[in-house]
Symmetry: C2
Subunit: 99 residues, 2 copies
DNA sequence: GTCAAATATTTATATATTTGCATCTGTTTT
DNA sequence: AAAACAGATGCAAATATATAAATATTTGAC
């Protein structure tokens, strides 16, 4: 394995994480989870006013790419930020995109 | 126009910015531009080893979504970060994606 | 004006994403 | 065990994106 390939892999991991976040509804989800909050799929689907299956799909993408974690408790599954640092990205964007 | 629509527009602007950055080659471009550096299309296309037209296309996307600015000087067009803050996003990602 | 260099745009093809519906799986309640 | 609830998954249609090859545009040198 080449150094360059390692580098490309790292870039791809980073790109996948960004790609996971790069969607209006998924940014909205992240905003609701800032500060360590934990929400269920149903809560998010009601907060955003989008379909349950669509919500679940978005959450799955965010989890798959390492942005969110989930924890099942009885009938509910709670989702939360894997690194609270990541909400800095959303903040940084808000600042940069308002000009 | 509804408050909600404004909110959705803001989310979309942010998502577009992130989407622009969410590509391995485009992240590589951002890394090369950190610290206020300015590079031409040819320099970037040689640094990354990708086609000229592909490079120009990627730069166009980053510029269109407000991530980069460009300035023509003679035959060359220099590209640079619009907000140096944005390179924090790349750094933050590097940290979060290394675990 | 003509030529060459640096960028940009167009086009075509391949591939990936988004969304909602219907369905399926797991968990609690009765 | 059946019903009810929460969430996940498979699928299909619409849409968006990526790439490269070919072509067009812009600019400076002559």
């Amino acid at each position: 394995m080449e150094i360059q390939e390692l580098e490309i892999e790292r870039l791809e991991t980073a790109a996948n994480m960004l790609k996971a976040m790069a969607h209006p509804m998924r940014i909205a989800i992240l905003k609701h989870l800032e500060g360590g909050k934990k929400l269920t799929v149903t809560e998010i689907h009601e907060l955003l006013g989008i379909e349950q299956s669509t919500t679940s799909h978005h959450l799955g993408i965010l989890k798959d790419k390492g942005v969110l974690c989930s924890k099942r408790e009885g009938k509910n599954t709670y989702y939360f930020l894997r690194h609270d640092t990541l909400s800095q990205i959303v903040d940084c964007l808000s600042r940069c995109s308002c000009e």
